[in-house]
Structure formats: structure tokens, C-alpha cells
Amino acid sequence: MGKPARATRKYPPRSPLVGYLLRRLGTSVLLLFGVTVVTFALANLVPGDPIAAALGEGAASNPATVEAYIQERGLDQPLPVQYANYIGGLFQGDMGISLRTAQPVASDLAKAVPATVEIALLAIVVSLGVGVALGSLAAYRRGKISDQLVRVLSLIGLSIPTFWMALVSFNFFFLQLRIAPGAGRLSPILPPPPPVTGFFTVDSLLAGQWVTFTDALAHLMLPVFVLSLFTIGLLTRFVRTSVLEVLDADYVRAGRAKGLSGPRLFFGYVLRGASLPILTIVGLAFGVLLSGTVLVEAVFAWPGLGSYAYNSATSLDLPGVMGVGLVVGVVYLTINFAVDLLYGVLDPRVRLA
């Protein structure tokens, strides 16, 4: 009797997509670890005394207060120990206590991030809608007056300084025309809706507060308008270029030859073919919108991530700076991940590769 054949367990073949996702996830974790190392190192390399900056002259002259402050925050520990404590805290959702606000950084960011995401999301939707529309119009009307006009307008959108545009539009639409509300996320007399998502528009709808919803939506419009101008200009130029390339492609000509026209040709052939470079730009633009709203938030008194980052940096609030760095790192990685996945959805060649 021969030796029984060794049973070999057969695992179902792993989907290439699952493997890809796992690899990307692993890379993302490593990158996030790198982000924490870099932000921690940079934050601690900045010259200056964060304790003096946080306490002020009077309290910093009081040895008892300085000692209590250092002990409470573990600032007397060696830097590697502080870093290890920081990473240990992160696993428990603890990002430290802000030296500036004296509140947990995680709690500060839980309020600031939704405020910024709310304007950034709406800005990217508006930018995408207007940018695709104008870019396609310019491509279809290549060389004509409407094309020239769109190109000039997009160049203006790219060139106008955001801070200046924010002040001018606030002055014009709020003060002169009186069709926009004042600064902030809500009118002063309205209480914020019960927090669920942190988006005032969504939370007010969930709570059935229609007045708060319209007020929150109204307050979103000017910041979104100002933020969108740059991304509209950027997207318009990219869409125009991409659509122009696709319009001359064989498969579009073939579609036309078969009698396709109108939205079927545009959405099914032209826009889909032009979508990959557009998607790349949208991903980058969304990241820029999330992390680069400092000036717009300052003008519109918007308590978002940009304001938090600026205030943390200028007051040497190291836990605050590291918290913002981590959030921005997560945002960029998530967006890149989502864009890569969408590549596969939009282009079967990417999926197969």
C-alpha cells in the first residue's frame, strides 16, 4: 500500500484586485507612519519655546505652573519617548492636548475637518460640473469666440489671488448687493444642529431644521464660489485638452459614423475617454482644497482645518501641527487610493493590468 497522496488544500485564486488593495493598504500604513515621523521631527526642530508661547509671560515666570504644564504633557521625556507615547495614543484615538486651545486635538479636529470637508466637497462638485461643461464647450467650439472666452476666463480663475477674491466677493455680494449672508457657518441667532456628521447642511436636514439648512447652505455659497474659481479654471483647461484629444480618436469617429450623437456620444465615448486625466486633476484639486483653505477660512471666519493649521503653526502648538499633518496625510492617501480605484472602473485596461 503506497503512501497516501498528500492532500493539497486548494485556495481559491486571490483576485488581482484584492491583492492590489492589500498592497495599497500596506503602503498607506507605511506612508502614514512616515508622515507621523516627519511631522513630529519637523515640529520639534522648529526653533522656539512652545511652553513660553503657550503660557505667556506671566504664567511662564511662575515655576510651579511651568513644572505642572511640563509634567501634564510629558514634555520632560526624551523625544523618542514622547514620540512613542504619541503613537501609542494614536492607536487609542488620542492625538494629545493642544497647547493653544487646551482641548484634545482629536476633539478640535473632529469639529474643524467636517467644516472644511463641507466646503471642499461642494467646491469640487461645482468645479467639476462647471469645469467639464466649460472645458467641453471650449473643445467642441475650438478656435471660435466661445473657446477664446472660456480660455480667458479659466486663466483669470487661475490667476486671481484667493485672499483678494475672497475679500472682494464678500464685500460685493454681502455688503453691496446684500444677497449673501455674513461670515461664519451659520447666522449668529441660530444654534448649530445636533452633531451627527459635522456637516451643518446634512445635520440640519437630519434634524428636520429647514431654516438652519437654508442658512447653512447660504453661508456655504461664497466660500465655495471663491474656492471653486481656481479649480474651475484648472479643470476647464484640462477638460478642454483631454476632450480635444479624444474628439479626434478613431473610436469617436467610428461612433459618429454609426450615427451616434448628442449625449450618448458625449458621455459614452468622449467624456469617458477623457476622464482619466480629469480624474487625476480632480483628486489633486480635492486634496489642495482640503489642505489649502487657510485664507478663505480666515476671510469667511470659517472654523475649519485651514484656520486650525495656521493658528497651530503660529502659536507653536506642536500637537495641533502634528494632528493636522496626520489628517492631511490621511486625506491625500485616501484620495489617491480612491482615484486609483476609479481608474480601474473607468478603464478596463488598467483593471486587467
Partner: protein, 520 residues
């Protein structure tokens, strides 16, 4: 092709109409409410832990202190929750509480509340306000009387008792919610969402990044008669936005406008401009290892008389004034007149100093305007004026957070800095003396000028008002004549309000008392 354009146009139109629909929503108006825009410095609503301006403004509305200041006059404390007497040595101060005063829950204000509140600040070493209670012992005499004593004469104590950090809290309520008189105190969380004071307002809600809402204290039985039953204090960091909000009636008060901005305000806006309590000054290091050629009293004198002070003041705008010494105008002992430019005196001092045309680096923070005064144009003008007097200056700007380290450690030879009081008393300016905190930052040791050290000691230890005023004046005069500091500008404080609002009075600690605001 035309059909495709229609789709494109429709998408564009939809986006635009969504935007317009949103913009069309109008904000409702409430007349008994007031909205105050300010750039927040707010960390806590617990008065015992607070040490920053917006926090003081909030605490002042929610709580009361033993003593107070009347309007903008910060020279003499007046009765608050209590009246006081002192012994001849100025070491024992007896406070008698006013009869019948109650907290917002209706319970009486007693000596136990005073003892608890002051000892709580003294016991919380991690509180930034802890230093205010250094050296002060609190003793209950009876239910309505408390004694505060110090080892040495302390005529600054009455002024300290006006500070909102030393507000009187409802001790029973605070203890029930974790309050203690040592580092184990855990009442901050409670006080961040509830107030426990006897002030004219109670806390409705707080968001440390965006706004604080106060409502009327129904049980308030003090002297203030408030006109606004609801107050919203908003965080608007950009002064230009504060200006537009005020002009557009989205807010009724803007706290942080610069002198230039108030000059361009539209009609129908009132502006209350007054010199603040901040002093911008030049530091001239007297340590030869740090300062080199600047370590010389003659060089300091040359700089002092070379400057055209009205020319510098042009950069500061409304409300600002020339600094007449290290003590700003509203404080006891402040000098009436500042230094006037005298190029002959400057030239003689420069010759005596041994300066030989070498370039001197002027350091300053370039991202930290004080009272709307940016240091970069100020430094450029100083550079230009000193060049006319034969002194060559090289500018070295840096961000505040990186620059302050070298200032605090006394490593700057020649720099522009500023100083503001921690509480409303001239004792705040004694650190400028030789051998003290700010003096040492200028490399000025006590051994270098024992006379001025004695003058400062006399001011510190005075036991009556007249003696103290004279001592502080003598100190300020000596500092102005031979100190290593050249006071330049006291920037203005500009509080702009809607036309129908009156009662604005600037205070160097709490900026303004919200309860004193009135609708005309």
C-alpha cells in the same frame, strides 16, 4: 452639436441656480441680541484657568470680582462684590461683601465662596492664572468678611482683585461638579458648559473655535442694567472681515480694527479709540558679549534722541500715542511727555559711544502686529531715521515663534519688542528694571545700575497711594533717562460699534465690559 451645447448649458445653469438659491436665504434679525466679532484667544470658560483676552471678556460678563474698575479708568479700583480697607503697612486687606448679592441659581454670595474661589486659583498650579495669587493668604473673618494678607507691602493687591481670573464662583455648585482647591480640581468641564457666577449673564453655549453665546442672568441683582439679553461673541480672525460684518450689520461690534481700518469706516459706525496698554519698544543690549557696540549707555542715548517719534506714530493710526516711558499712559506713574528728537544730543552721544559706522542688526517679529502696528514698516522707518543720524542698521525679521526665544534668553543685541500688563497695575512694568526679567533680556544686571534698582524697590514696597505714585514716576523717569529701552509707540485700541450702541469702555485686561453696552 447644438443639442450637446444645451446639455452643457443646462449643467452650468443648474449649478448657478443652486448657488443663487442658497445665497438668497436671508438671516433673521433679533433686536435684543448683540453680535461681537473678535479674533479669539479662548481656551476655557473656567475663570480660574483663564489667562487670555477673549476669556477675560467672557468671564467678566459671567462672573464678578471683589473689586472692579469704573469705565476706562484703571488707576483706582472701585467696589465690586465687596468694599475694602487696608492696614497702614499695606499687608492686610479686609474685604466686606455687599449684602444680598446672589449667584445665578439664587444662592447667596458668602465669604466661603470668596475663600474657595481664591484658594482654588492658588491651588491649581497648572492654571496660567496661578501666579496672580502668589504670596497672598486668604482667611475668612465672618460670613461676609474676608482678609487677604501678604508678607510684604502689596498695594498692587486691590488691582489684582479686579482680574476676572479671580472671579468669585458659587463654591457649592463648583464643588459638586469636581471643584477643589488643589491640583485635583476637575470642575473645568462643568464650567465649560455652565456658569457659576453672579454676573449679569449666564453661559448658554461655547465653541472655542467659533463662538460663545451668553444670555441674561434672570437672578442678577447687581448694579448693571443690561440692554442686550443675548450676546454672541464670534471668532472672526480677519480684521477686514470684522469691518465688513459691522458695515453690513451682521455684527454690531468689531473689536480688532486697526487705525487705518477705522479711518475708512462707512457712516453710521461709532469708533472708540484709545491708547492700549501695550508698549512697543527698542531693546539695546548692555551685555558687551551680546551687543558689542550697543552695550553702551551713550549708544542707547544716541538712538533715543535720533528718532522722530511723531514720524513713527504715523504708522500706528487712530488711538495710538507716543510711548512716554515703559509705563503706558493710563497707569500710575506714567510720564506726561515722551522724548523729543534732538539730533545734536544724539550726535554727541554717538561720538561718546565709540560707534564707528559698523552695521548693527535690528531683529523683530515680522508676523505679529501689535494693536494693528506691523513691525516691518516700523523697522524700516527706524532704519531710515537712524541712517540720518549716522547709525547703520541691517534688518533681520523672523516669525514671532522663532524670534521670541532669542529675546527671552537675552541673545538679541538690538531688537523691537512689546510689553503688555498681566493685570491692571504699574507693578507690571517693574520687570524692566536692571536685574529683573526684561532688564536681563537687555543684558542689564542689577550691578550696572543700583540706583534704578532702588527706585523700583521703592515703588514695589510703597504703602500708600501718594508715596507709590511718586515712586513709580521716579522709576519711569530714570528708566527713560538711562535704561537700555527706547519706548516707541503705545498702539491704539479701536472698538467700532453700530451707531445705536453706547457704553464702550476699553480695559487693558477684559477689553470691554459687555454688561455696560447700551442701546441708545
Amino acid at each position: 452639436m447644438r443639442k450637446q451645447f444645451r446639455y452643457v448649458a443646462a449643467a452650468f445653469g443648474l449649478t448657478a441656480s443652486l448657488a443663487l438659491a442658497g445665497c438668497a436665504a436671508a438671516a433673521p434679525e433679533v433686536s435684543d441680541s448683540i453680535v461681537i466679532d473678535t479674533a479669539f484667544t479662548l481656551e476655557t470658560a473656567d475663570p480660574g484657568r483663564n489667562y487670555v483676552p477673549t476669556g477675560y471678556m467672557v468671564s467678566k460678563a459671567l462672573y464678578e470680582t471683589l473689586l472692579d474698575f469704573a469705565g476706562s479708568d484703571e488707576s483706582t479700583p472701585v467696589a465690586g462684590l465687596a468694599t475694602f480697607t487696608q492696614n497702614d503697612d499695606a499687608t492686610v486687606f479686609t474685604f466686606t461683601l455687599n449684602e444680598g448679592r446672589v449667584f445665578s441659581d439664587g444662592s447667596a454670595v458668602t465669604a466661603d465662596d470668596v475663600v474657595f474661589s481664591l484658594n482654588r486659583v492658588a491651588g491649581m498650579t497648572e492654571s496660567k492664572a496661578n501666579f496672580l495669587m502668589n504670596g497672598i493668604t486668604v482667611t475668612k473673618v465672618d460670613d461676609m468678611t474676608v482678609e487677604l494678607s501678604t508678607e510684604t507691602p502689596s498695594l498692587k493687591l486691590p488691582a489684582l482683585m479686579t482680574n476676572p481670573s479671580l472671579a468669585i464662583l458659587n463654591s457649592k455648585l463648583v464643588v459638586e461638579n469636581g471643584g477643589t482647591t488643589d491640583d485635583s480640581d476637575a470642575a473645568e468641564e462643568f464650567l465649560n458648559s455652565n456658569s457659576a457666577g453672579s454676573g449679569p449673564y449666564v453661559l448658554d453655549r461655547v465653541s472655542f473655535e467659533s463662538q460663545v453665546v451668553l444670555t441674561e442672568n434672570e437672578n442678577y441683582n447687581g448694579d448693571e442694567e443690561i440692554d442686550f439679553t443675548r450676546v454672541v461673541i464670534r471668532n472672526v480672525s480677519e480684521a477686514a472681515t470684522q469691518k465688513i460684518n459691522l458695515e453690513g450689520n451682521d455684527s454690531q461690534i468689531a473689536v480688532d480694527l486697526s487705525g487705518d481700518q477705522v479711518a475708512g469706516l462707512s457712516d453710521g459706525i461709532n469708533v472708540f479709540s484709545t491708547p492700549s496698554a501695550q508698549t512697543i519698544f527698542l531693546l539695546i543690549n548692555q551685555d558687551s558679549e551680546v551687543g558689542g557696540v550697543t552695550a553702551n549707555a551713550d549708544f542707547a542715548n544716541a538712538v533715543r534722541y535720533a528718532l522722530d517719534y511723531p514720524g513713527l506714530l504715523e504708522l500706528a493710526g487712530a488711538g495710538s500715542a507716543q510711548a512716554t516711558g515703559v509705563i503706558p499712559p493710563s497707569f500710575l506713574g506714567a510720564l506726561a511727555d515722551g522724548v523729543e528728537q534732538d539730533l545734536d544730543v544724539s550726535a554727541a552721544s554717538l561720538a561718546a559711544s565709540g560707534y564707528d559706522g559698523e552695521s548693527i542688526t535690528l531683529e523683530y517679529p515680522n508676523d505679529y502686529p501689535v494693536g494693528g502696528v506691523s513691525f516691518t514698516p516700523l523697522a524700516e522707518r527706524i532704519q531710515s531715521q537712524l541712517a540720518d543720524a549716522g547709525i547703520t542698521i541691517e534688518l533681520a525679521p523672523a516669525p514671532f515663534t522663532t524670534q521670541i526665544d532669542s529675546y527671552v534668553t537675552g541673545a538679541e543685541a538690538f531688537s523691537i519688542w512689546f510689553w503688555g500688563p498681566d493685570y491692571a497695575d504699574s507693578a507690571n512694568f517693574l520687570p524692566f528694571v536692571a536685574g529683573q526679567k526684561v532688564g536681563l533680556r537687555a543684558g542689564w544686571t542689577a550691578e550696572q545700575d543700583s540706583d534704578v534698582v532702588n527706585l523700583a524697590a521703592a515703588a514695589e514696597n510703597a504703602t500708600n497711594f501718594e508715596e507709590r505714585e511718586t515712586a513709580f514716576s521716579n522709576f519711569a523717569e530714570a528708566m527713560q533717562q538711562r535704561g537700555p529701552f527706547v519706548p516707541l509707540i503705545v498702539p491704539g485700541s479701536n472698538i467700532a460699534t453700530a451707531e445705536y450702541i453706547s457704553g464702550v469702555a476699553y480695559n487693558s485686561t477684559w477689553t470691554m465690559d459687555i454688561a455696560e453696552l447700551q442701546a441708545k
